[in-house]
Point group: D2
């Protein structure tokens, strides 16, 4: 940590800062600077100390130097994390395409979708059973019945399944059915929920909160990792900005930044990032070009009658077309789209 | 709802839109417009229909006309809601000042703070027992022990108490100790939690999410109201923008906007909005000038050693100074600061 | 400046940083830190050096310590700047209300408005002759004819006048008619224009750019000050955020922040900040409560037929009502509204 | 335009709206709606009318239907615009790479850079002679001397050159030397400058303002087009958001949106969008994957000593590496990188 003093601060103020640092059991380095005095300190800084120092007279600002996350940091863990699902690995050289409807509506709807997306090259099936909705008047999901359908269709089509869990109480139940537990963007800082999924041994797909910066996203991952669950997949899904043509602003730059700061795999959800189906294919292609490890895409047999998020869902035809464009693009980046294959688990 | 067609759309496309509207059991009005055709429809529009129409060929955009919230809307409920606590009313002519430490740290810390803020004119005591923290390495509150201290000190000083509840499972417990249940900004769209506090009969202080617009905030209130709990107090606490000098950007305009759109009382938390104690007094004064019904202010006996949010806490002296400035200001707006008085409940 | 090295950087990398600093003629301090090495340097840092250091291998980040503005900074100029107009001072104890129509439309329109706002207590007359418009199809102002009317009406009503100048070529002309040169928010970083108004000896009202942070705003002021023009009045007028109910988000916190960082006076334009007339009075009151030195308010005899910005203009009645509310509010803050008085200049 | 009335508005209020519409010479359609009355109107709506209607009693909101830009709109001009430079076409099937230093520093620096980027596959040379700088203390460009060097090196290497013009007065001069006139993001709404470049017959590269939405960007293009200059190239360069790791947030979604709304070509500047050289290659690749018609990339022989924007400049080696990655990627999208070829002009 670095303490920057105001111009013209007194020797007494400098001493007080140094004493406060030493009271906390840390080492204050010799102050330096001409016009403006700077004091550095080393050692494990407790959270309150920064605040305390910033309040002392003569202090202009306090600048932390350490990154606040450790377990999620590439500096402490240079090797890429690869999350191994049954039959597919996220974070390796292959790009994993997860696809399916926004919400599980019926077994038939899910099965026909699963078969279509698998045939086109998707390897993980997505489908929401619990749906967070901005308005209390909208469809909130089939809940446990949806979980059952999801697991059943996943088994039938031999695809691992990913679904959202919205509240700590449901974690155990959802974990019985799902292969990946999704934390939605509105819950990225639901810390009780993060602790709870951290205590499972299921991979966690952690969506970025729409007003959260990258450091906060990695700190949310840190919550999960700290409970001993190392299988975290990050998912960029757009942030909130003044531009309103698309539902959110997809932060494509987050992909190479996360790759630099963290060892965790990062995928992209262009469906929620844009809210409009015709923007999904260009953004899916862009995400892979920028280095994403996978995609999460909404596909619906008849978006026209979908109970949720119809306008951002691809039809089967449009999904097939996208997959046919993704394959050469991945190749141009020396990667390939992960192939659907038989699962080992019965 | 209004459907706007693309320039040059075909009659067949227009017909398809009108048929889709009528299939949904609604009435489509005669299309109008010269250059660009517009179709209006009336009746209760189900959520999926908007999406479905936007997908039809020839459609440029679909514009909703109804406000999506009803119970929170002033159009449907012109009379101001006044939340009656034991001994103080929020949303009437008096401005209610809620004050206390960010986190309950000990009985002594809370008691001395409660006595100081009450003496200075605060009428509600705040104190966190469960603390949402961006980093898992920070102090997360005394939890149930904190609740006990809070209730005890509230009783001793005859002040109603407000404290945050972070997860649905804790609602029942927190409601046993608290007079007002606070939903933090990170939980504004934790819909399971909103449902749960909606099922209690305790007043709910609903902080605005830092990336949520006013409509979404009112929709979150709608969740609580829909469960039958009519005692919702809205709390503006800053939104996230590109300006980073203060922790957040306090959206002062939200106060008169909410007053126009909703009948619910609105208060302001200048401590979290700014993150710096020296910005709290000017923003507290501004909030009251703009029409806020109350304030939520962090006060600590020794911010220098606070376990949480020290830099944004006022000392007792600074809080007293602020209160002495608030009183004439409230008067200049033909309001007054609510007076501390004896509670009726034992 | 502080150079923070990556964890595990080599001694050679540290040496290279130190050599680079010394090559630039500056002094590098002894590196310190346990886990992470930090190097401080002192002396006048040229702009390119920060960039150069950040590129060196082993460097994690470079943190500037000096504030980039000097002339606008309170640290270097603790005394408040008071801008003296003929008959009114901006930045002293009195709050200056500047009012008038968005655009000068005719002599009659301006005269009747000037008389009304002066009678209600405004001391400076605003009126646009050159109007920046988002669309090329909108009214762009009466230009020189507007300037002539403005000066004429200002003389007749004995009010100093403020008007926008949009381009360097017009500065000389506008300065012949105006008492204050306004730089609009879209031109806050029009550096050629800043240089040009800096070369005049007319007070400059510098609106904050809608995507500019406070440091950039003060740097824009620095451009003007650096040319020798010390009479800069800052004007907050809302920033752009995701919240769209009002036209912009008024950054009320900017007022006390600017007061802390700079000696320049700061006023607020609640008309452009909100875009809706009914939001103007609460925000005007809030601005004064937060410490603003003045207000810039749009008033129109008949907003219904205004050629520009009708919806944000107050009627005469609403302006009078606002002034009657402002006076006691200013008093409650130990200030007062500046009184209209005779100008000395003929 | 659509006028939406408040619930419970009176017949008199409805009539007043209809009369106001007809007074403006437009046709008001029969009001419709159950709970909420809606009035549609057709015809060319003058700017002030929307505002006027919104002020009438009983009106909830007014929603424009027409897009405010015409010349820039794809609805009115379905065919793609291709900007033809001497020897290269922007907006066709080939992707045009524009590269060079942020600022022209010397003939030698520019020549060696031009040769390097041309050899690697760039077809247009960029270089700043007039530099907008946030701080007045930074290097502001070689000005006319820089223009001369730029034109000289462009001729020598047979590359068209693009350079920024900052103020209307300089347009004529810059147009003598440059093949493309660049409008910087801070000047996107410098309307006098837009008019002035619109009066030349040089292609204009119009960067998006960092707080401007897509509609405002297209309206800025409309200014240029309205003066008769049809050769506008749009350039996305990042918008300002709360995320601060990169200098700006590149809005990759803007590419397919602009392609849908406008016939103008759109390119991307990943250097300014990110401010960090190591983020430039992934974003350049992403931009092409998303459908961009070209790239504008900063390259410097020795970024370590660059006078401006060193940290975002690629070295020659990194630029060559990027080009070798772009070529297969473009092919995977059925496009190709434009080839450098001899210019026809002497």
């Amino acid at each position: 940590m670095i303490v920057i003093m105001r111009i013209g601060c007194s020797q007494e103020e400098i001493n007080r800062v140094m004493n406060r640092i030493e009271d906390a059991g840390l080492k204050a380095h010799v102050p330096f600077g001409d016009e403006r005095i700077v004091i550095g300190l080393a050692g494990q800084v407790l959270p309150g100390l920064r605040d305390a120092l910033e309040l002392l007279p003569g202090v202009d600002q306090v600048i932390p130097i350490s990154k606040p996350y450790k377990l999620a940091s590439r500096e402490f863990h240079p090797q890429d994390t690869v999350v191994e699902l049954d039959g597919v690995a996220v974070g390796g050289n292959d790009i994993v395409v997860m696809a399916g409807p926004c919400a599980v509506e019926s077994e038939e709807q899910l099965l026909v979708t699963a078969q279509a997306v698998k045939a086109a090259g998707a390897t993980v099936l997505r489908g929401g059973a619990y749906k967070p909705r901005t308005s209390p008047y909208e469809f909130r999901g089939l809940r446990q019945a949806g979980l059952r359908i999801l697991a059943q269709v996943g088994k039938e089509t031999q695809m691992p399944v990913v679904t959202e869990v919205m509240t700590p109480e449901d974690v155990e139940l959802v974990a019985q059915y799902a292969d990946i537990l999704q934390i939605g963007s509105r819950n990225m800082q639901n810390f009780v929920l993060l602790d709870e999924v951290g205590r499972t041994r299921k991979p966690v797909l952690l969506k970025r909160g729409m007003a959260c910066n990258i450091q906060e996203w990695l700190l949310a991952a840190e919550y999960v990792l700290l409970q001993g669950n190392e299988q975290v997949i990050l998912c960029e899904r757009g942030i909130r900005t003044f531009e309103t043509y698309a539902r959110n602003t997809m932060d494509i730059t987050a992909i190479p930044i996360v790759e630099r700061l963290s060892h965790l795999p990062v995928i992209v959800d262009p469906s929620h990032a844009t809210g409009k189906w015709y923007l999904v294919p260009p953004l899916a292609l862009a995400a892979v070009a920028a280095g994403a490890d996978g995609l999460l895409i909404e596909v619906h047999p008849d978006p026209d009658v979908a109970l949720a998020d119809g306008p951002q869902s691809l039809t089967f035809d449009n999904f097939r077309l996208l997959m046919s464009q993704l394959m050469p693009l991945a190749q141009a980046r020396n990667r390939k789209i992960a192939m659907p294959r038989a699962r080992i688990k019965p």
